[in-house]
């Protein structure tokens, strides 16, 4: 597609349930990033995929969070046993560059609400 696509755009889930968030990057982009944005705050890095290299998972806040990127394209962020503090907008971004040059292209995000 023309941009980074994320689904669902909104997700309400009960505390303790698992959720999966999907990201379709721009075709051909080798780098894919997940960030989290809590209400009124900046972006918090979660995980970074670059080509076939091992992902940089240094930003994942707990072992309840995991992410996969299949075939170098679509990525899924999974949050197990969701907690209320997981409520945030989860943003995915992709880039054709190995470095941060020219920035990333972000999707519109998935707004997750844990009740």
């Amino acid at each position: 597609g023309a941009g980074v696509s994320q689904s669902p755009s909104n997700k309400v889930t009960e505390k303790g349930k698992d959720v999966e968030l999907r990201c379709d990057p721009i075709s051909g982009h080798t780098a894919l990033y997940w960030y989290r944005q809590s209400l009124g705050q900046g972006l918090e890095f979660l995980i970074y995929f670059q080509g076939n290299s091992a992902p940089d998972k240094s930003g994942l806040p707990s072992d309840r969070f995991s992410a996969e990127r299949t075939g170098g394209s679509v990525s899924t962020l999974t949050i197990q046993r969701t907690q209320q503090e997981d409520s945030a907008v989860y943003l995915c971004a992709s880039s054709p560059h190995k470095g941060p040059d020219y920035g990333y292209t972000f999707g519109s995000g998935t707004r997750l609400t844990v009740v």
């Binding site: 705050q41 900046g42 918090e44 670059q50 930003g59 806040p61 943003l91 470095g99 941060p100 920035g103």
Partner: protein, 114 residues
Amino acid sequence: GESVGLHLPTLSVQEGDNSIINCAYSNSASDYFIWYKQESGKGPQFIIDIRSNMDKRQGQRVTVLLNKTVKHLSLQIAATQPGDSAVYFCAENRDKAAGNKLTFGGGTRVLVKP
């Protein structure tokens, strides 16, 4: 994970006036900086970037200034328009050895008054 969340400061500016948004960064080794604009309900959008070997870069109606001595970055918007109302984030590439992720500041909300 890293978190740079802060209370969101707000800049109110009259339409047609110039806006200046400031950002302080902490890592003197950062060598690349970007300004993003985020409108309500959308993801951040790239505005302009600058490398550490420069101290000024201009785009269309926007100018980024970098002062490495005091680790300060600013974004100037000329003749601010209603469409400029958004949250603006600065981002830095802190540690290439640790990967190519960007670290974002807490953001500044710009409100343009007609």
